[in-house]
Every structure is written in C-alpha cells, then in structure tokens.
Amino acid sequence: MDVKYINPFIVATQTVFRTMLGINVEIMKPVLKNVNTTSGDVTGIMGLVGDQKGTIAISLRKKGAIFVFKTLIGDECEDVTHEVVDAIGELTNIISGQARKEFEKAGINLKASIPIVVVGKDVEMNFITKIPIVCLPFQFNLVNGNGAEKELFFLDFSFE
C-alpha cells in the first residue's frame, strides 16, 4: 500500500482528536488484516468513491467509545447508548471529511456516503474492495476516575 493512501488518514485522525476532543493520539504500527470484521465494539463505516473507491471504518472499544462521547458531549454515560452511536457516526464523518481534504491536496478527489455505525465485536463488513485491509491502530491516554490508562482504537481501510 502506497504511503500516500495512509498518511491522510493518520493526519485526519490526529487532527480531529486534537481539535474536537483535546486528545493527542499516537499511531502504532499499521497491520494488514485478512478478515473483514470490525476491530472494536462500536464502528463507524463510510464508503468512498471518486478517483479511488473504498471503505473506511473507525472502530473503538466500548470503553473508548464511551470516553469519546463523554469528552465530546460532556454528558455522563455508562453504556453504549444511541447517543454514543450517533457520536461515533459523527466522529467518522468528520475524520472522513478531513481525510478527503488531505487526499485533495495529493490530487485525489473523493466523495463519501452517509456513515453507518455497527455495534458488536467481529461483525462482518462489506469493504467493496478485496482484502487485505490496512488497519491503523491508534493509542491515547484515557483519563478517568482511576487515573490514566492507554486505550486503543482502529482505523481500517481498503482502497483500489
């Protein structure tokens, strides 16, 4: 996979988390996935068409999704409610928009669909393109009443 397809997603994800959540996220080592199932518990999925076609999926574990919701909205929350699902959908939409802006700088024009969000582990996704799927793991400090711990989330994408 050409690095020009990876960097826009890294820049977009880091920018959105820093701007909207005040969180610095660190990129871990990208991996290739040979299965087309969700990497976390709450996953926002968007199709992209234009100069390339493909799919991106932002997938957070339950704890990370609730933390993102609380930080973004300011409301208390203990479980994955429809509001948490909406927030992850919006986060996916914003990261996708920011990534498309980065792609545009590289001369690649893309348009996106409306995001859908699936809840559940190992849920099968239709990536349009063939596997393998590139999985970008990100890490951030999740601060709660018990102190800080490292939390992972994933941006999976496939392009052709």
């Binding site: 920018t15 959105v16 701007t19 300011g74 927030a87 919006e90 939409n93 928009g97 802006k101 545009e104």
Partner: protein
Amino acid sequence: MKVLVVDDFATMRKIIKNVLKQINIENVVEAENGRHALDVLRKEEIDLIISDWIMPEMTGIDFLKACKSDDAIKNIPFLMVTAEAQKDCILEAIKSGVDNYIVKPFTPEKLQGAIDKARARIGK
C-alpha cells in the same frame, strides 16, 4: 444573541451547543432540518443561523438558498458547518450566498472567528 442550530443529528447539535456555551452563547434554538428551521424562523427572532450541510428533507444548501431568497430573513448571518472540506462544496456554498463556513473539526476560538466574520459580512 439568539442562535438557530440546524442539524439532523441531535448529538451534533449538542456538540455545537457545548462549543457555543464555551464562547458565552447560551440562547440557542434547534431544528433538525431546513424545513423545520424555516418554521422556526417564521416564529422566532433569530440573530444567527448555524447549519449543517447534509440533512434529510431539506439540505443545508437548499435551506441556505431559501433563506437568502426571502427578504424577511436574508439578512440573518448564515454560517455553514460542514465536514465537506472540498473546494467545490465550499464554492457552491459561497455562490449560494453563505456568509461564512466552518469545516469540522473546529475549536471554540475558530467558531467565534467564523461567527464574527459572518456577522461582519452582513453588517451586524
């Protein structure tokens, strides 16, 4: 200042309201699409419109065009908030008379700056 926030996602309306609160704007009314927003505008005195782009029933662009072609409301500053950062989308909004636009993600400072520019454009 009374602000009308138009977005089909209740969560996004909440996010915008939270950001507005951080810049001391707390008088906010909400609408979930352009058609509903036009109903609100007929009933209430609004000082600023902040609207999403992609919404069912009436999109942000169609809502913008409806506002700018109505003498009663065309002078209300219209700020478009969108995840669509691409040039052709922005150009379409400008052609349709938007007073300013802001691309998500944004900070309270960036939103304040965008509101100030939108209001200045309309002379408010």
